[in-house]
């Protein structure tokens, strides 16, 4: 059923003591594979807590290098990592915390051409992306592949998150059917973000993934969690699966992966085209 080394028993003792975990649950964590998309503000705390909990395999997707401005919230990385690929410093940080975790790195940008291949071997996907385009792509891919997806977004002092269990509950499009045109909703680069909000939401994402793996508690499925850090207030709004949803509904109209050309990383004030492209696999 399970077999732990002395070191593992010590390392995970606080997990094992929990009624909801025990040796059986700890083995489930060890056998689990979680993909964290984005080694940034959300991905950092999410990956850290997943590694700490003993998730056996953690995949990290990020094509970027560490920038000084990241260190205000992307706590996987250190000052000496500036200029190096984020996946490398992420792997180093996670292995230092827990050498028992296998970290698989994907130094690439998720696109319609690679997302299905990358998510295939994982049990749970954690969305730590920073733009609408990849968010919708990841949502659609996870729905099509039947993979649970823990989605979160942050801006200024606000955070929101939901856990998507394809066809059991709403997907991202059930809540927000289409992305906004470029420039309408600012990015963190334009509007700013308080670093610790990433910590709160990313950590909540790790908790959702852990609950999914253990099969305990209630996930944020059918609910959208909103956090206003300035007010210090959490609220939940209902989120229902839309039977007419274009991707997870009863008669899907989106059956191929769509990439929106929203170019959200442009400097403030520069508008981008919003042509929708279908990428041939």
């Amino acid at each position: 059923m399970f077999r732990f080394t002395e070191e593992e028993i010590r390392r995970y003792s606080r997990n094992i003591i929990l009624q909801e975990v025990g040796g059986i649950g700890q083995q489930k964590l060890k056998d689990a594979k979680v993909l964290v998309v984005g080694a940034g503000g959300l991905g950092s705390p999410a990956a850290f807590y997943l590694a700490a909990a003993g998730v056996g395999t953690i995949g990290i997707v990020d094509d970027d290098v560490v920038d000084l401005s990241n260190l205000q919230r992307q706590i996987l990385h250190r000052t000496e990592d500036v200029g190096t690929p984020k996946v490398d410093s992420a792997a180093r940080a996670l292995s230092a915390l827990n050498p028992g975790v296998q970290v698989k790195t994907y130094r690439t940008r998720l696109g319609a051409g690679n997302v299905m291949d990358i998510i295939r071997e994982y049990d749970v996907i954690v969305d730590g992306v920073d733009n609408f385009s990849t968010r919708y792509l990841l949502n659609d891919a996870c729905v099509m592949a039947g993979k649970p997806l823990v989605d979160a977004g942050i801006l200024r002092w606000d955070g929101m998150m939901m856990t998507i269990k394809p066809r059991e509950g709403p997907c991202y499009r059930c809540i927000f059917p289409e992305p906004p045109p470029p420039g309408v909703i600012p990015s963190c680069q334009e509007a700013g973000v308080i670093g610790a909000i990433a910590g709160v939401m990313g950590t909540l994402q790790a908790l959702e993934a852990i609950k999914l793996i253990l099969g305990v508690g209630e996930t944020l499925t059918g609910r959208l969690l909103l956090f206003d850090a300035l007010e210090g207030r959490f609220r939940q709004v209902n989120a229902a699966r839309d039977p007419n949803c274009p991707v997870c509904g009863d008669h899907p109209t989106i059956t191929e992966l769509v990439e929106y050309d929203l170019a959200c990383d442009l400097p403030f004030g520069v508008a981008a085209g919003s042509a929708e492209r279908k990428i041939e696999q």
């Binding site: 059923m1 399970f2 732990f4 010590r10 003792s13 094992i16 003591i17 025990g22």
Partner: protein, 81 residues
């Protein structure tokens, strides 16, 4: 504890300290069938209180905590159904 209680498994945790006395006991109990009985040997005094308390909070029945000579105790636990 009645004489006829059958012990199915014995766990020697001499030299072990809390909370690992409970953690290791719990891990063994998890592999046992409901209703089976585990005998845990400890020589760490706080464990004689901590292990039974934790076991009972999980719903298991502690049948006995007995001195077993030379600073050693036995804790007899029946796994819940």
């Amino acid at each position: 504890m009645p004489e006829d209680v059958q012990v199915h498994r014995e766990l020697d945790l001499k030299g072990e300290v809390c909370p690992y006395t409970f953690v290791k006991s719990k891990l063994i109990l998890e592999t046992m069938a409901p209703g089976e009985v585990l005998r845990v040997i400890v020589d760490y005094p706080p464990a004689t209180g901590n292990v039974p308390r934790s076991m009972e909070s999980e719903g298991h029945k502690v049948l006995a905590v007995n001195p077993a000579g030379d600073g050693v105790w036995e804790i007899i636990v029946r796994k819940k159904d």
